[in-house]
Symmetry: C2
Subunit: 220 residues, 2 copies
C-alpha cells in the first residue's frame, strides 16, 4: 500500500462553513479531493437563474476532475464540510504512476454515472410525489447504511437539505416540495418531528410511493 503513503504526503484538510461556496463554476481548480464530513452539492445555474442540482456529495464522495482545469459546476457546502484535498498536479502524477488509484477512481465514477442515470429517470418521468419519495428513500437508505447496525427501525433521519435545495435536486419549486411533503405526512407515509426530522414507519410503503418499487435493494 505504498500509494497510500504517497497520497498522505500531498494531502491536506480544508474546512468550509454551511452555505459557503467551495468551488465556483468556471474557476480554476487547484485541487481534487473527497468529502470527509458534511454534505455538499454540485449545481448548475442557467443565466436566468434557474438552478439544477446535478450531484449530492456525501462523505467519501470524490470532487474534481483529473485532467481538466476548469470547474464545470458550483460546489456548495450545505452543512459544515471538511474536505480532504490533494493538489491537482501531484495527484495526477501519482495517478499516472499508480494503476490502483486510477482503477479505484474508475469504480467511483461508474457508480456516480449510475446514480446520475437514476436521477434522469426521476427528473424526466416521475410525478412530484414520486420525486419526493425517491429523494427520501435515498436519504433513508444512506442513513441506514451509515449506522452499521443494519436494523435500526423505525427508520429515522434528519433532512440535510432545505426545501429549496430539494426543489433544485428534483426539478420542482419549493412550494411543490412543501405541499408534497405535507401530503405524504397526511397520508401516513412519513412522520415529521419539526420540519427537518423524518421518521419512516414503513420503508416498503415509501419505496412504493417512489415508483421504482422493484421491491427493493433489500434494506428491509
Amino acid at each position: 500500500m505504498d500509494e497510500l503513503v504517497e497520497l498522505d504526503k500531498i494531502k491536506y484538510y480544508r474546512r468550509f462553513e454551511a452555505g459557503q461556496t467551495i468551488v465556483w463554476s468556471g474557476d480554476q481548480m487547484e485541487f481534487v479531493g473527497s468529502v470527509v464530513t458534511g454534505i455538499a452539492t454540485l449545481t448548475q445555474t442557467m443565466e436566468d437563474g434557474r438552478t439544477q442540482m446535478v450531484g449530492l456529495l456525501l462523505p467519501s464522495d470524490f470532487v474534481g476532475r483529473p485532467g481538466r482545469d476548469g470547474a464545470a459546476y458550483d460546489v456548495v457546502a450545505v452543512s459544515d464540510v471538511v474536505m480532504c484535498c490533494f493538489r491537482k498536479r501531484p495527484f495526477e502524477k501519482l495517478m499516472a504512476e499508480t494503476p490502483h488509484i486510477a482503477h479505484r477512481l474508475l469504480e467511483m465514477t461508474l457508480d456516480e454515472l449510475d446514480a446520475a442515470r437514476e436521477w434522469m429517470v426521476v427528473l424526466g418521468r416521475k410525478t412530484a410525489r414520486e420525486k419526493i419519495a425517491s429523494l427520501l428513500t435515498i436519504l433513508a437508505r444512506r442513513d441506514a447504511s451509515l449506522t452499521p447496525d443494519g436494523l435500526v427501525r423505525p427508520l429515522e433521519f434528519r433532512l440535510p437539505l432545505t426545501r429549496e435545495a430539494m426543489a433544485d435536486y428534483l426539478g420542482l419549486t419549493l412550494e411543490t416540495v412543501s405541499r408534497q411533503i405535507s401530503a405524504l405526512r397526511k397520508d401516513g407515509v412519513i412522520v415529521l418531528q419539526g420540519k427537518r426530522h423524518v421518521s419512516v414507519p414503513d420503508i416498503g410503503r415509501l419505496m412504493e410511493e417512489a415508483g421504482d418499487d422493484s421491491d427493493g435493494g433489500f434494506l428491509v
Copy 2:
C-alpha cells in the same frame, strides 16, 4: 502499443438491425464493447411503462460496465448497428494488467458523466421548446464534428431518432415533441425537408433557443 495487439486478439464484431434489442436490462452481459457504426440508446423503463432514455450511444461510445455482470439498462439499436465486442473476462483481465486502458476508460466515463449532468439540467429545468432545441443542438454539433471540414454551412443533418425516442430522451410526450418541432419550424429556427431532414440556418439562434446560450462551445 502492445495492448492493442492484445485487444485485437479478443475482439469480434456483431451486427444488429434497427429496432433490435442488443442487451436486456437485468440480463447477464457476456461482453463489453463499443459502437462502430450506427446509433443505439440506453433506456430504463418503469413498471407501468414510462420510459426514460439515459444515454445515446454514438460511434466510439463504450457499452457495458467492467466489474459488474448484470446489465442495468436496455440497450436498443436505433439504426443498424455494428459493435466491436470484447468478451468480458479477458477484457477485465487485460484492463487490470494495462494501466493505459483503465485510464482511457476513466476519461470516457468522466465525459459521459458530464453529459449526463448536462441532461439533468435539461430534464429538470428546461421548457419543452428549450429541450427540443437542446437536443437539436447536440445532434447538429455532433454531425458537424463528424464532417471534419469544419465549416459545413448551412448546417444540415438527418434526425436519427423518431419523435417518440426524442420524447423518451427529453422526458416529454411525442405529441409535445411534434408540436414544438412544428413551432420551431414556423418561427424559422429550423427548416424541415420531410420529417427527418433538418437544416439550421442560424446555429446561434438555435443555441439561444436551447437556453444554455453561453454563446457557445464555439462551433460558430
